[in-house]
Structures are given as structure tokens and as C-alpha cells.
Symmetry: C2
Subunit: 469 residues, 2 copies
């Protein structure tokens, strides 16, 4: 990887600033067409791109082809929003005669793009949360230009995606500098500190995200840093649910934990289940059947081994299914740990350490009081999952919905947290450390709101000045 120097980074931001003058000034329809052209071009190259990405990330071609479809779906959603604004449509209030507070001049509120923004690609989604993923798509739709900090895990994929996207922009008569890139940690930090960068979209680790957040908020002029920094995602399973459909739950839980080799920020990592050896054994057997394969990189495998080792040192933690880890080839198989509720409560910080890969911790409870106590010690997270039976578990679920409203961004009932639908009612984010600004989502149409700012024009509705906005 050739790292971008600070001088080069400054020049790249300057080219993004110049491109912003053009990009933010063209009609929304032109912007929409450009974004759609990027989507079309990626779709046309989907097979090649998936092949390249598979060699770099080992995520498998079917998943990668699917991820490209998600990526272009997102691009088209934000293009449509740009062309026919719903969330970013102007808001009008007519003038009202009389003294304030009832009386008022006419007000016409529009949403303007923030300027050039920085986007940090995530390691686990080489397309959908990467170069032209959700952050970039929503920023482009808003009218911002984007300087992308390329992820070091898939440089060839990233470079190829950017080449295709920039060519698509050029073919539409637009400057390709609407999308520019830097590489390297220092360039990324310089980007966040650069006075012309007006916002940051980031998906990645708590450690890296927090260090960039600190830069963004300490600038002479602070900027919003929309970071999604990972999460421990609990699944509460009631006794009635295990009795009614334990077999299915165990099978589906194993599939969700092992999906993409557990490399999702929404992976169910804590399974709070009744003390039921048969169910746990079932879960372990289903997990064992998910096989083995490489993580994103050997670095990921080392990190998986290290963080798994930390969790395993937690008070009373035992290994139900031992994860095979080959740091030479990078291959791993799924693992399952177990701990009793009281031990978990005594050492929850160790046991909730995020472990990126196919590992989950089963926390066994014997009383519903323990459920409430576990709820008390959890941190903010992306998604809370519940498996319960109606009406037997009504009170438990009510309590868990309250927990969801207090600490999570999404609550899944009798389903699984992996797979985040791209839709207007989606919310992907949650109280810190899940998100740095928990009011905003990084998935779904609402993501565009991160990259716009309202400006109200007073006293021009119906006047000759209106056409100039």
C-alpha cells in the first residue's frame, strides 16, 4: 500500500473542494443521473468486482455479488431522494399577519449540502460500507463531494470501484473529483483535521473511531463525526421460546453467528438463555456444522484469537465449542463460550469485549431477576434481539422493549439481527459506543440527513427573489 502524504492529502481535499462547486451547483436531476450511472457501471462489472474482492477478503462470491446489489440499490435510493426529495424537501410557512408569536414573515427552509466530506471504508463490507457504500451514496445524494479513506484490506477492489465510479462521473460530463481517495492512517487523520472537510462518515473499530472523533471535535471549527464503532449485541431467549421452538432457534442462531464468518457489527454476540444443557448442546452442534474458513485477513484472525482469549479469561467462562484458529492460513471455525449469569454480572466488561468473528457467549440464567440484572449492565448497542412467546412472556418482553428504547438502535423480535434492511424506517446506530451521534442512521434513506444542513429564507416567498434560491 502506498500511503498518501500530507501534501498529497491537502491537494486532494482542494480538488474535492473545487469539485464541490460544480457538484453542489448542478440541478438535482443531474446529480441523480450521475449517481445512477455509478450504480449501473458497478452492476455491469459485478462479476469481475466480486472476483477481485473475494481474493482480497475471502467473503465468497455469492455474498459479494449480493453486496454489490445492495450497494447499487443504495445508490439508486439516494439518487431518487435527490430527484424527488421527501426528507430533504423544502418546508414552507406562509406569512401570518399580526404581532409575534403568532404573526410572522414567510419562511422557506431548504437543505444544503455541507461541503466536501470524508468517508472511511469498513473492512468487512468491501462494497456496501466502503468506497461508494451507504456513507458515500448518502453524501453524494445530499450534494457533497467525498474524499474516501480507502480501507487497506481490499486495495485492488477499492481502486477498481473508484476507477469505475470516476469514469461513470466523467461520462456524464461531471468532474471525477466528486470522488477522490487517500490511503494510510496518517492521511486519514489529516483528512479529519482538514479545515475544508465538513463531516465524516466512519464504520470501524471503537479504538480507531474514537481517535478520529477526538480529532473532529477538537478542531478550531468542530465537525460532525458520524461513527459506527461496533457493538455487543445481546439476544434474550425465554424458556417458553426454547420449549416451543428450541431446535429452530438453535439452528438459526448458529447461522446468524457464523454468517460472513461472524464479521458483522450486528452479529449476535451474547445469548442470554435459560440454563438448559440440551439447548446449548444443540446450539454448539449447529455452530460446529458451519465449518471453517478464512477471516478477512490474517490480521483479522490474529485479532480474533486475541480478543477471544480476553473473553475466555472472564470469570467462570468455559468453552463449549472450541474455535479452531490457524493464524498461518487465517482459517477459523466457530466457537461458543458459556458463563453463568452471576459470573457474567461480576465480570461483564471482560466478557462483552467485542470479538470480530464467529464466536458467541451463552449466558445462562435461572431466574427472571437475573435477566433484569443483565439488562442493567449492558452498554449502548446496535441491536437487541428477543425470542419469546406470546402471551406467556409478555412482562419479560415489555421490560426488554424498555431496555431497547434506552440502549439500542434496533429491536428484533423473533428474528435475527444480521441483515440490515435498506428502508426509510430503518435505524442502524445506537447509543455510544454503537454510534458517536446516536440520532443518525448509517443505513436507510434517513442517512442523507447527516450530510445536509437547513437554511431558512425569510420574506421571499411569492417575490421576484424566489427563483434565485
Amino acid at each position: 500500500m502506498i500511503e498518501t502524504t500530507i501534501e498529497e492529502t491537502n491537494a486532494i481535499v482542494e480538488s474535492s473542494r473545487r469539485a464541490f462547486m460544480q457538484w453542489s451547483a448542478v440541478p438535482a436531476d443531474t446529480r441523480a443521473s450521475c449517481i445512477e450511472a455509478i450504480a449501473d457501471a458497478l452492476d455491469a462489472y459485478a462479476d469481475t468486482l466480486a472476483e477481485v474482492a473475494d481474493t482480497e477478503t475471502h467473503l465468497g462470491r455469492p455474498r459479494l455479488v449480493g453486496e454489490i446489489a445492495r450497494t447499487t440499490f443504495q445508490l439508486r435510493s439516494f439518487a431518487t431522494e435527490a430527484r424527488h426529495p421527501t426528507l430533504t424537501a423544502p418546508v414552507d410557512n406562509e406569512a401570518v399577519d399580526g404581532a409575534p408569536p403568532e404573526g410572522r414573515p414567510s419562511l422557506h427552509k431548504v437543505f444544503v449540502p455541507l461541503g466536501p466530506v470524508a468517508v472511511f471504508g469498513a473492512g468487512n463490507f468491501p462494497f456496501a460500507f466502503a468506497d461508494v457504500g451507504g456513507d458515500t451514496a448518502s453524501a453524494l445524494g445530499a450534494g457533497c463531494t467525498v474524499v474516501i479513506k480507502q480501507h487497506p484490506g481490499y486495495p485492488r477492489t477499492s481502486t477498481e470501484v473508484l476507477r469505475i465510479a470516476r469514469a461513470a462521473l466523467e461520462a456524464e460530463g461531471m468532474t471525477p473529483d466528486v470522488l477522490t481517495t487517500v490511503m494510510g492512517v496518517d492521511a486519514g487523520r489529516a483528512l479529519v483535521a482538514h479545515p475544508d472537510i465538513q463531516a465524516v462518515g466512519f464504520t470501524g473499530s471503537l479504538e480507531a473511531g474514537r481517535s478520529l472523533w477526538d480529532i473532529a471535535v477538537s478542531r478550531p471549527r468542530p465537525i460532525p463525526f458520524f461513527g459506527e464503532l461496533g457493538s455487543a449485541n445481546p439476544v434474550f431467549i425465554t424458556e417458553a421460546a426454547v420449549t416451543a421452538r428450541g431446535e429452530t432457534i438453535a439452528e438459526d442462531a448458529a447461522a446468524s453467528i457464523a454468517l460472513g464468518r461472524g464479521q458483522f457489527c450486528t452479529k449476535p454476540s451474547l445469548l442470554i438463555v435459560p440454563r438448559d444443557d440440551e439447548f446449548i448442546d444443540l446450539l454448539a452442534r449447529h455452530l460446529a456444522a458451519t465449518g471453517e474458513g478464512p477471516l478477512l485477513s490474517t490480521r483479522s484472525t490474529v485479532r480474533f484469537a486475541d480478543t477471544k482469549a480476553i473473553v475466555t479469561t472472564g470469570q467462570g467462562v468455559s468453552e463449549v465449542l472450541r474455535s479452531r484458529i490457524d493464524t498461518a492460513t487465517g482459517a477459523v471455525s466457530a466457537g461458543l463460550l458459556q458463563v453463568a449469569a452471576d459470573d457474567f454480572l461480576a465480570d461483564h466488561q471482560t466478557i462483552t469485549t467485542e470479538c470480530f468473528g464467529p464466536l458467541a457467549v451463552v449466558i445462562t440464567y435461572t431466574t427472571t431477576d437475573q435477566l433484569a440484572e443483565i439488562a442493567q449492565v449492558l452498554e449502548g448497542g446496535l441491536v437487541l434481539t428477543i425470542h419469546a412467546e406470546h402471551p406467556a412472556d409478555r412482562d419479560t418482553v415489555l421490560g426488554l422493549y424498555e431496555l431497547g428504547k434506552r440502549l439500542f438502535g434496533r429491536v428484533v423480535t423473533n428474528g435475527w439481527p444480521t441483515g440490515v434492511a435498506v428502508a426509510p424506517a430503518q435505524h442502524h446506530g445506537g447509543p455510544y459506543p454503537a454510534s458517536t451521534l446516536a440520532g443518525f442512521t448509517s443505513v436507510g434513506l434517513q442517512a442523507v440527513m447527516r450530510f445536509v444542513r437547513p437554511v431558512t429564507f425569510q420574506g421571499i416567498t411569492g417575490s421576484s427573489w424566489e427563483e434565485l434560491i
Copy 2:
């Protein structure tokens, strides 16, 4: 003033946290009734409150009675939003069969209150931006409880308002601890750092605001800090406008500069006008006719004198109308400074120093190129004002609208910036330093969005679980 100790502050936050359990759980209709009861009680005591506030702030009873009307109007607006949500209404997406990205489970997004929040009252609005002003009203409407950092400038008013508001809550059967208070700088800082405080609303100086921002964003779990930190508000006046209606513009400009003795964050502070001695003389004469009177406090008067002295040291700044300042009685009269565009460009940082009181700087230009150069050196601000004639000034106005979209939160055409209407299309905020989070407004219905967070419930629409949300 008796300062709240850190121990007392902790106990007050704990009482706010307990009150939040009740306040956030009652039906929205009950919350709305409580907020309306606070508004009714304040209206009933308006005359007494205005009298007390006048002795503490010297703002005059008519203005203070008007400000109470604005305050109760705001409270009722947020009560209505709580009862019949528009911005915070749930968002539903039905399940769609098929594979992602088109296929998806049902999604039901709701908005939940953040928790106990802190609100810092502003010195210049003892009601509308104070204890139960816009920040508190929007937070209460969202379902948050509020710990208020009382402003030291009007302790009796503040204490009386809180007594009335808490009694109104109690009369509705609600715990009065929905609204609690602390006093003193250290208590305020402790409040922002307290782990149970989930957001901060602040209106005040850049210096105080930035120091609290630094605390909020450096916490182990950072929280959103919605600060409105003041602004230099430019007014661009074209030659055609002066020719067409110079007399009216001069008279209205003087009224806007001297309104509330210039103690508004939206006061027009920089008047960019053609080099026209007659117009400037007219403006000075109208300003002189606004008389003299006390600022909020003798401390305000000293600060006015100090900051005015700084602006006056700017390159080429001359005094057209000398402001009389009596630091003993606190009385001041309006002042007008003048500087040529080239001098301003050479020393704009000194000359744009915010001076809270009846002072404005006239910047004279001779070419339209100078207008563009002045636009280049301005900082982010709350409001940009333009006086221009159609169609003669079309190009100039187009350029100024671009400037508005880049750097300001509101753009007023052929009107004046003081007086911020309370309406859904309002935006009161702007790029830093005007606001710390420029996407949010502190005036108008949208202000409620600062104090809620989305949570999406997946897979329950149409199920038996739906009623539990």
C-alpha cells in the same frame, strides 16, 4: 447567588433520572397536558414575572410581557407536537417478500427521549431562552427531564418561574423533579460531565459554550451538545437599495441594531454599504435617536465597553457615532463605527469581534468585487441580511444567496434579522461558531429533534407484540 455543590448536583441529577422514569412512561397526552399547565400558569403570572424580570434585566416590561407570550407559545407548540406528533410520528415500512435488498422484514421506527438533559439559560432572554424557554420546552415535549443551569443574571425571575412550573407539574399529579435546577459555573460543568445527562442545550457566549462543548465531547460516552454561541450578522445593502429607499433602510437598521439595546444574537453587527456619506449620516442620526438605557447588568456594560474598544482598534476604524457608556449606572447609548472595505479585509478578525450591545460597524465598499472579497472572509453565522432591488441587483443577490447557503442558517431579504419567528420552517443556528451542531435549530418545532433518538422495531407489525411498544 448560592452555588450548587458537586454533591448537590449529583443528587439533583439522580432526582432527574428518577423523574425521567415517570415522565417518559406516561402517555404523550399526559405530558402535553403538563406542558400546557406550565404555559397556563406562566401566562397567569405574566405581569408579576415581567415586573421581577425588569428589575433584574432592565429589558422593559412590554418586551418582557411579549417574551413570556413567546415562551408559552413555544411550550404549547411542543405540547401539541407531543400529543399529535408530526416530526416525531412513527415511520412504518411493511414487510416485502423476496431476497434483499428489495426484500425486507417489517420495520416500525419510533422516537424515544434521550433521558435527563441539561439546559443552560441565556442572559438576554430571561424567559424565552431560559428556564422553561425553547430548549426546555422542546426537551419536555420529547419526553426528557431537564436539569436547568440557572443564569446568574436573573436569579429571582428564574427561581419564580421554576416555582410556578414545578407547582403546575405537581398539580397535574406529576413529580416536580421533571424540572430541577443548579446554580454556578462549577455545577454547570459537573452537569455536562455527569454520566446520566444525555444531551445539553446551551445559548450563550463562544467562550463558555466552547469550554462546555469540550467537556461534552471528551466524556467516556460523549453526548450531543447543542450550543448556540453567537454570531457576527452581516447586512449587505446595495447602491440601488439605498437610492430607492435609503431613508427607510436607515431608520429600520437603527431600530434593529438598538432593539433590546442590541442584546440579541441576531443583531445586525456588520453593515456592508456603498460609500455614501449621506446614508451613513442618516443611519447615525436614527441610531442617536434611540436614546440610552442600561444593559442587562453592569457586567454587561463593562463587557460592551471592552469589546467595543477592541473593535475600535481595528485597522482604519473610525467612530461615526460615539456610544456613551456609564459603567457606574450601566447605561449606554448606541454607537456606530465605520471602516473602508480594504481596511476591513486587512483586519477582519479584530473588526468582527462580537460586541453584545447597541453597536454596529459600517463597512463601505466602492466596487462589487469588494463585496465578494468581504463574503470570502466571513465566519459561519446565524443570519445574513440583504437589502437589494429587483432586477438590478440580481447577480449580487445570487452571489449572496450562495454565501448564505455556505455560511449561514437564515437569509433575510429586504427585512431585518432580529425577531426569530417560532415556526416549523424556521432555522435558528448556523455553521460554527454560530452553532456547535449546525444541522439543528434551537427555535421552531424542529428543535424537538435534538432530544429524541430513533429506535426501529423489526418484525412486530401486525403481531401480538405491537401493543407493547
